[in-house]
């Protein structure tokens, strides 16, 4: 048997000044060349496990550590992260803090130079890793100029430059668009298959990487809850942790089909064997069957077409001085009560469009009309918190509406990811509280502030969120749309877009390139499509497992495009 490249023996770890252990009695062994997926809800201990593996816990974070972690035969209590860095490459969530030098070449060289490699070895290592990751064209670029996706690739390159035995990745795709995210996962698979690099990857969107994984380790409250191959994990998740189920598995569970599929290919094969999908050959490419599930939404949309817009953007341009045009004549109208998902690759102009909608930016050309206030929730909820207590951030009424009264005395930064998002959302939509009016900051548009915002715009609100928190946020947005607010959400997550929006707008290069009902736009694509839609080939415009299940329950072979 091969010696484990990473082993945990009864590891318990507490962060400083925290009562509850982040890891509790964890024991596991990872063999060389394995591709391991770490699953679990937010706060389950995935990040801590990765930080313990590379020695940051306890050497960097402090705290109380019990048990034993060995990486490449080195005990992490005796060897710090710098020494362990020769064997393990680590990549964390935020690409902004993953780059420590000013140029891409210097970034890729750092690990090799730190090891004292010769100049020739450094140069060769940099060239090789740049070619392997397809970032050779970026070598002489300044790191602050890179896009989020480019930064993440460069950070991965920096982690791999030293040819580590194992790479530890903490949600590396959370800030990437579906295309860039899939490219990164593909790259990891290639590294694993061609270089035999061991990969340990923590992810929330499991459907992206399950098919390439050899093994899935699930954590619950810092404890090992499941350790097995993807099929065993899917079985466990369907019985014990529905929040970790992939959309495909949920679709099968709702139809009482077993076993739960690991990926689209397996799901389609299973449906074909049950004659629920046509064979791959000899079929026509017919139109999708009409969707019974969303007829009401269609009628509602038709009615809205006749109502005045809550937000109307006509031919909006945003041209940078001495730089490119970020928006190129973008046109978008959103009716009251309508919910729109804004999708597109990193750098397509989604965030800029939302900033224009909220009046943070002035268009260089074009017109924007708003029927009332536009509340904008930016990407990082932490940017809204400037006080020491939750109740100092907003009025009592808003606090109660957001269901955060119980957390009034806590520091905003101590809240969980989902709670922080709820608090930030409550702050930007706060109407004030007559009893606490003195806390308000000199309103400038009094009339606007007395009424709920006409438009609620959210920029990538689900970054780093687990499925449960996403479902709660989607429900909240649907409720707001039903109350008459226009909702615009910029998101990379097709599942979330399908759950919260009835209309999808695809942006590319600053232009709206597609605009239509979500079930049409997200049903037929490769990247911008939900897993359910990919399994069912876009049949009936079903995007969510519940909608797909309704089609399958009718036990009628679906006429779909394969």
């Amino acid at each position: 048997m091969t010696a484990a490249v990473l082993s945990f023996a009864n590891v318990t770890y507490r962060y400083p000044d925290v009562e509850r252990p982040a890891l509790s009695g964890v024991s596991l062994e990872i063999e060389p060349g394995e591709f391991v997926l770490l699953a679990g809800l937010s706060g389950s201990g995935k990040s801590t496990l990765l930080r313990a593996a590379c020695g940051l816990a306890p050497h960097f974070h402090g705290g109380r550590f019990a048990g034993r972690v060995e990486l490449a035969g080195l005990d992490t209590r005796e060897h710090g992260p710098a020494r362990l860095g020769a064997f393990a490459g680590a990549l964390f969530q935020d690409p902004e803090t993953q780059l420590v030098t000013s140029s891409v070449r210097a970034e890729l060289s750092l690990a090799l130079e730190s090891r004292g490699e010769s100049a020739a070895a450094v140069a060769r290592g940099v060239e090789e890793v740049a070619l392997a990751l397809g970032i050779d064209a970026l070598l002489d670029r300044a790191t602050p100029e890179l896009s989020g996706g480019e930064k993440q690739r460069v950070a991965l390159g920096a982690a791999l430059a030293g040819r580590p035995q194992i790479v530890l990745l903490d949600e590396p795709t959370s800030q990437l668009d579906p295309v860039a995210g899939d490219e990164l996962i593909g790259l990891l698979r290639r590294l694993n298959q061609e270089w035999e690099t061991t990969v340990v990857l923590a992810e929330h969107r499991l459907e992206r990487c399950l098919t390439g994984a050899d093994r899935v380790i699930a954590l619950e409250h810092g404890r090992l809850a499941c350790d097995g191959d993807p099929a065993a994990f899917m079985q466990w998740a369907s019985e014990r942790a529905p929040a970790l189920q992939t959309p495909g598995a949920k679709l099968f569970a709702l139809c009482d089909l077993h076993p739960a599929p690991v990926g689209v290919k397996q799901a389609r094969a299973a449906l074909r064997s049950l004659a629920l999908l046509p064979d791959q050959d000899g079929h026509e490419r017919p139109r999708a069957a009409p969707a019974p599930v969303r007829r009401a939404a269609r009628l509602k949309g038709a009615r809205r077409a006749r109502t005045p817009s809550a937000l109307a953007m006509r031919g909006v341009w945003h041209e940078l001085r001495d730089g490119p045009a970020i928006l190129r004549g973008a046109t978008l109208a959103v009716a009251p009560g309508e919910s729109v998902a804004l999708m597109g690759r990193n750098g397509a102009g989604k965030s800029t469009l939302l900033r224009h909608a909220a009046g943070l930016l002035e268009p260089t050309r074009g017109r924007i009309e708003r029927s009332g206030r536009v509340a904008l929730l930016l990407q990082n909820p932490g940017d809204y918190f400037i006080h020491e207590r939750v109740d100092e951030e907003l009025s009592g009424q808003a606090l109660a509406t957001a269901g955060l009264t119980a957390m009034a005395a806590r520091h905003p930064r101590d809240l969980s990811g989902g709670e922080r998002q709820r608090l930030a959302l409550a702050i930007v939509t706060d109407l004030g509280d007559p009893a606490q009016g003195e806390k308000r900051h000199e309103p400038t548009r009094d009339d606007d502030l007395q009424a709920p915002p006409a438009v609620l715009a959210l920029d990538e609100p689900t970054r780093g969120m687990d499925r449960q928190a996403k479902a709660e946020l989607a429900a909240e947005l649907r409720r707001r749309a039903e109350d008459g607010q226009a909702v615009i959400v910029a998101t990379h997550d097709p599942e979330f877009a399908a759950a919260c929006a009835e209309r999808a707008v695809l942006l590319a290069d600053g232009r709206v390139i597609a605009d239509g009902p979500t079930r049409e736009l997200l049903a037929g694509g490769w990247y911008f499509a939900t897993e359910t839609a990919r399994i069912l080939g876009g049949a009936g415009g079903a995007l969510l497992p519940e909608e797909g299940a309704e089609l399958l329950r009718r036990r009628v072979p679906l006429e779909v495009a394969l």
């Binding site: 860095g85 140029s103 210097a106 900033r355 930007v428 900051h441």
Partner: protein, 300 residues
């Protein structure tokens, strides 16, 4: 947004094509020259030379922006010197008896001296800005790592934190603008905002430090010393900028020693205006800008 910040980016210019040690030495020679010289004409010549060098290095626009920042610092220097200095014989305004501060006579000499100091401060800011934009900080840090590990670590963190924190504070300010009613006002609001920025910067510094740890920066202590520095042949630009640095220093010292660049402000302004002074000013401009004329082999 980051485009407005002063950070290094490798572009096609003779100064960028020069090795960092020589580029830094060239910038230091300009700093030394402006510290040694007091003659306004020579300082103005240096100002023209530095701005010209900025355009030659392809960072003229960004350097001009830092000229605006320098003005914010320089103009109060002139004003304060005029108001507080009681030396000089040529009075251009009388403010009368200012009680414990004595007679409020404002003199041309005080204004001139303030102007010279302001010019020096402006030059210092511009030369620092030019070096920041055109001298590779990573190459400099590699050099320092061999000399002092801890200083290099601190400098690395600081270098990286600047653009990160600038982007963070822009984001935070933007988020506050989206609050209903806008960003907090009043002393309490501003203190809260400031403490949020500081708390965020500490978190960011921790994250960057953690990344440095896992990249093995701490292990570089021994490795960097053990590794022999790479011997690269001097490029034409290395030679040109090294020669330019020597020439600038020599001209500054010669100007000071021969008195052609002397300047006395009190009690009356005395400054030579002969051909030697003009020749020195022209030579300073030429010595600074000549290396930018050779544009062969400057592509990254």
């Amino acid at each position: 947004m980051v485009g407005t910040l002063l950070f290094y980016r490798r572009i096609a210019s003779p100064l960028h094509a020069t090795r960092a040690s020589i580029g830094a030495a060239w910038a230091l020679s300009l700093t030394a020259a402006e510290l040694v010289l007091y003659h306004p004409l020579c300082l103005l010549a240096l100002l023209v030379a530095v701005l010209g060098a900025g355009w030659g290095a392809g960072v003229g626009l960004r350097l001009t922006r830092s000229l605006r920042t320098a003005m914010i610092v320089a103009l109060p220097i002139v004003l304060v010197n005029v108001l507080v200095t009681r030396q000089g014989l040529t009075v251009f305004a009388r403010l009368g008896d200012l009680g414990p501060f004595g007679q409020g006579d404002l003199t041309v000499e005080a204004a001139a001296y303030g102007g010279v100091i302001a010019l020096k401060v402006t030059l210092l800011i511009l030369v620092t800005g030019l070096a920041g934009l055109a001298v590779d900080p990573d190459e400099m840090l590699r050099m320092f790592r061999r000399l002092s590990f801890r200083s290099a670590l601190t400098a690395t963190l600081a270098t990286r934190m600047l653009p990160v924190l600038a982007a963070d504070s822009q984001r935070l300010a933007e988020a506050q603008r989206t609050r209903p009613g806008g960003a907090p006002t009043g002393a309490r609001g501003r203190v809260a905002l400031l403490s949020a920025v500081v708390a965020g910067s500490l978190d960011r510094a921790m994250d960057v430090a953690a990344t440095l740890e896992v990249r093995g920066f701490a292990a570089a202590r021994g490795a960097a010393r053990a590794r022999r520095p790479v011997r690269r042949p001097l490029s034409r630009h290395d030679i040109a900028f090294a020669a330019s640095a020597v020439a600038i220093l020599a001209l500054a010292i010669a100007g000071r020693a021969t008195g052609v660049a002397s300047f006395a402000s009190y009690p009356r302004i005395e400054l030579p205006t002969g051909a030697g002074t003009f020749a020195l000013a022209a030579a300073l401009i030429a010595a600074t800008l000549l290396p930018f004329c050779d544009r062969r082999g400057i592509e990254p």
